[in-house]
């Protein structure tokens, strides 16, 4: 089945230690998104790629970076995690060829910062 895969499902990192979360998709969608979701809150869009074009949200901290080396993979790098960065990180995709775009989410990576 075509899907969005996130690894790892659970990640523990130390305060200030860089961490990378990964996302891959077999849907061949051209748009990929990263969201941060804290408990009982709305998913908050951090940034998205439209093909290779990177689109940052205005309020996304510089501490968060992303890479998309090819259509299938996208990475979220947190350069110096703080305690406030503990959250669920959700990767999603959409197909710009189908308007309007529903989004397909991965299962998420739960990040703990110690």
């Amino acid at each position: 089945d075509a899907m969005v895969i996130q690894n790892p499902r659970y990640q523990v990192t130390q305060f200030g230690k860089p961490v990378t979360l990964s996302c891959s998709q077999t849907l061949n969608h051209n748009v990929m998104y990263w969201y941060q979701q804290k408990s009982s809150q709305a998913p908050k869009l951090l940034f998205h790629y439209y093909d290779k074009d990177f689109n940052n949200e205005a309020d996304t901290p510089d501490n968060f970076q992303s890479r998309r080396p090819n259509t299938s993979f996208c990475f979220l790098d947190i350069r110096s995690p703080g305690l406030g960065d503990a959250a669920m990180y959700l990767c999603a995709t959409s197909n710009e060829g189908r308007r309007p775009f529903e989004q397909y989410f991965g299962p998420g990576t739960r990040l703990t910062v110690t």
Binding site: S40, P43, L45, P100, F105, G106
Partner: protein, 112 residues
């Protein structure tokens, strides 16, 4: 400022009854609105999309309405089942392409 509001209190409902959730928005002019289901510890799953020129949309036991005058969408689950217990999020496009803004979601608990 732009807001999407969903009831923060969980909706507890008896099995077989209809659950109704509300999504209100401020300072958006969405061409469409989407509803997603999210189970604990999982990513949201798309359920339904309704466009601004559609009053109502149905999918199996789900029904969505969209009132652009009231700036409100209602989400109904008819003949609710315990398996419907989850958090339901509404989402709509802010300005700019490809993006969605999500509400916090409204938890539904269906009691057998």
């Amino acid at each position: 400022s732009q807001k999407i509001e969903q009831n923060s209190e969980a909706l507890n409902i008896q099995e077989g009854k209809t659950a109704t959730l509300t999504c209100n928005y401020t300072n958006y002019s969405p061409a469409y609105l989407q509803w997603y289901r999210q189970d604990p510890g999982r990513g949201p799953v798309f359920l339904l999309l309704i466009r601004e020129n559609e009053k109502e949309k149905r999918k199996e036991r789900l029904k969505v309405t969209f009132d652009t005058t009231l700036k409100q969408s209602l989400f109904h689950i008819t003949a609710s089942q315990p398996a419907d217990s989850a958090t339901y999020l509404c989402a709509l496009p802010p300005t700019g392409n490809n993006r969605l803004a999500f509400g916090k979601g409204n938890q539904v608990v269906v009691i057998p």
